[in-house]
């Protein structure tokens, strides 16, 4: 469908033509950013396995733990002992804090002992205590492991681009643009169900269009859901008008809104002193009430007579996979009277329907439910979404390579050239940056200061290099170079890992380390796909130059075959 010249433009032509214009331009300008958000968000589904692969020093430790799992655990401090150590530390070090939070043990009663509190500036602060002696653990005593952001890099990048609040807003705007592009895209398509079953391979522009439609239509509900929930998770940041109107716009007002939403019954300080009672009885009652082992004990206003003791539970993985709302159980007691003030069963919320909806929105977006199978479904749908944006951006240029449309007046060719470069760097270049991040994890020295920042620097530097390369090379060569680089980096990742750490795929499979194996197998799969794409591009390019050569004399020198410009000059003369 090629709208006539006069009918293309903002709000021109029929309703569908106007929406096609909106879809094209809204889609194009946001496609690169959205592709980056989608691809990293898709990788973020497997945040833990990636972190696991990126901290090889932990592997031996974890293997030893797994071997011990069946046997009698070594002498460990009891829950009551851990609670006492935590309290002793808090009373000694942070008597004036507004809140104490103890994480006494993992769900089996072992593991780390951690404490958190609000410091004088109202910031969340943390310390780790030795679960064998109760003394503070110095970070330098911890076993030497490589400092890394691990898979969290992908989580952070996909929602705030490592740029904090500013990044959150940029991603939020892009997500809204995605909703607009989805709605206008659906309106543009009159034959949505027919397109469902249509794929015309090896037809150039048509194939790109069919591919774009197929991945979009097949996963449309997922794309809507993930974009919408992504925005709605941060809705109180994006839509502060209501809070400003009814609560005010200060930081204080925001806090009172949060309390009204999540903790409607939170008391005020009384001003009368009262030391915190022994926690064990509270914890035991709380565990019985919520039916979960204790994860955290939160004491509001410690040292005050109005203090509250909240007992939070560990979610059981099987149980969690069966419900949409990922909250854990919570029992809140008055410290003075030991009376139960509030009880939240696992999956419930402290507020009403809106708070429950908010919890479910978070669960839907982060795939906290449904277990491993659902994570794979999210992963595949996420890849399809990335493919939707990539094919859309490519389609824009394929269309215009065939027929120059002059949208930008005299500078159209230059803008097209920029868009071609942006496509290469955004699609292939980001892949290089992601796998380069994993390479940096293995190559940077473990002792390096600010090591996790250097890993991040490698990620961004590779991406920028890819953009510069794409601007300097001709588009078709840039595509091939970067696909080749991606293939090489992905295919050699397991080799690199073997050389630097001694771990390898066969050992992972033997030890049942599916997380590490998954990372390397996926890397190999991407490598094979990139190599195939490279070979396909080379063949296509060769075919094109052969076709161009035909009308000219067969005795042309080789320069003609590599330089299409020479052919044009030849045919003009």
């Amino acid at each position: 469908m090629q709208p006539a010249k006069k009918q293309s433009g903002a709000g021109k032509g029929s309703f569908r033509q106007a929406q096609a214009w909106l879809h094209t331009w809204c889609g194009l300008w946001f496609s690169w950013l959205l592709y980056a958000v989608f691809l990293t968000g898709t990788l973020a589904v497997f945040e833990e396995p990636i972190t696991h692969w990126m901290t090889p020093e932990h592997h031996a430790h974890e293997r030893a733990e797994a071997r011990q799992a069946g046997t009698v655990p070594q002498a460990q401090a009891s829950l009551s002992q851990r609670l006492q150590w935590g309290m002793a530390y808090m009373e000694r070090q942070h008597p004036g804090a507004d809140m104490w939070e103890l994480w006494p043990a993992d769900s089996k009663g072992g593991g780390d002992l951690r404490v958190y509190w609000f410091d004088r500036e109202g910031q969340y602060a943390a310390a780790q205590l030795d679960p064998k002696s109760g003394s503070v653990m110095d970070a330098s005593e911890a076993p030497k492991v490589r400092q890394t952001l691990g898979g969290h890099h992908f989580v952070d990048f996909h929602y705030q681009l490592h740029a904090g609040q500013l990044g959150l807003w940029i991603v939020g705007i892009a997500a809204l643009a995605m909703l607009v592009a989805l709605v206008s895209g659906v309106i543009t398509h009159r034959r949505i169900f027919k397109d469902f079953f249509t794929f015309r391979a090896r037809k150039g522009q048509r194939s790109w269009l069919d591919m774009h439609n197929a991945v979009a239509v097949l996963t449309l509900p997922f794309q809507f859901m993930i974009a919408y929930t992504g925005i709605a998770i941060s809705c109180s940041t994006f839509m502060p008008a209501g809070i400003a109107a009814y609560f005010g716009s200060s930081a204080e007002a925001l806090k009172s809104f949060q309390v009204a939403l999540n903790e409607p019954g939170k008391p005020q300080r009384s001003g009368q002193a009262m030391s915190v009672p022994d926690l064990e009885s509270f914890v035991l009652r709380g565990q019985a009430l919520i039916g979960q082992p204790v994860r955290a004990v939160v004491i509001d206003y410690p040292g005050d007579a109005a203090a509250r003791i909240g007992v939070y539970g560990w979610n059981d993985a099987d149980d969690l996979s069966k419900r949409l709302s990922p909250t854990s159980g919570m029992a809140m007691f008055s410290a003075a009277t030991a009376e139960l003030q509030q009880l939240r069963l696992p999956g419930g919320v402290d507020g009403g329907a809106a708070a429950l909806t908010q919890s479910v929105i978070g669960g839907l977006h982060m795939a906290t439910y449904g277990g491993l199978l659902l994570k794979w479904l999210y992963f595949i749908c996420g890849l399809a979404g990335s493919a939707m944006m990539a094919t859309g951006a490519i389609l824009f240029m394929v269309k215009r390579r065939a027929k120059h449309q002059g949208e930008f007046g005299a500078s159209t060719s230059m803008v097209y050239r920029m868009i071609e470069a942006a496509n290469v760097a955004a699609i292939a270049g980001l892949g290089i940056a992601c796998v380069g991040f994993l390479w940096a994890n293995r190559l940077l020295p473990v002792e390096l200061a600010l090591r996790s920042r250097w890993e991040l620097a490698v990620f961004f530097a590779l991406w920028m290099l890819a953009l510069m390369h794409a601007l300097l090379r001709s588009p078709s060569m840039a595509w091939r170079d970067q696909m080749a680089a991606l293939a090489v980096l992905c295919l050699l990742l397991p080799v690199l890992s073997f050389v630097t750490t001694g771990d390898h795929l066969a050992a992972y499979l033997r030890d049942g380390d599916w997380e590490s194996a998954g990372v390397e197998i996926f890397s190999l799969a991407v490598g094979v796909a990139a190599a195939a794409a490279w070979a396909w591009m080379r063949r296509a390019e060769n075919l094109k130059s052969v076709r161009k050569q035909k009308p000219a004399e067969t005795s042309q020198n080789l320069a003609v075959a590599v330089d299409p410009g020479a052919v044009r000059k030849e045919s003009l003369s």
Binding site: G9, A10, G11, K12, G13, S14, F15, Q17, A18, Q19, W21, L22, L176, L179, V180, V183, S184, I187, Y228, I231, A232, C235, S236, F238, M239, A241, G242, I243, A245, Y246, F247, F257, A260, L261, G351, G352, A353, A354, A355, T357, Q358, I361
Partner: protein, 97 residues
């Protein structure tokens, strides 16, 4: 295309863009404020409003790029915003009595 046509096209696009971006945000914000007025506790309905405000935003962007004159689009937006704010004031006034 003459110069005045270019200028006109630029104005047209600018008016649509601002209607979509700023107008859409204003309508969504007014909706959140209106939802807040619907309950005494404010929070419940307001969060519901925040969760649904994106329907308004997307609808306004789609509308702003439909084949209707920018003047009409802006007219509809202003009526929508004023209606929502008037309803908010009316609700607060009625509940306060």
């Amino acid at each position: 295309m003459s110069q005045s046509d270019d200028l006109h096209a630029g104005w047209d696009l600018g008016a649509r863009l601002t209607a979509a971006v700023l107008g859409g945000y204003a309508v969504s914000s007014a909706w959140v404020v209106l939802c807040g007025a619907m309950s005494q506790s404010r929070v419940e309905t307001m969060v519901g409003g925040m969760q649904s405000s994106w329907l308004w935003y997307v609808a306004v962007v789609i509308g702003a790029f439909s084949p209707v004159s920018p003047r009409r689009i802006w007219g509809v937006l202003l009526v929508l915003i004023l209606a929502m704010l008037a309803a908010t004031a009316a609700l607060i006034f009625l509940k306060a009595r």
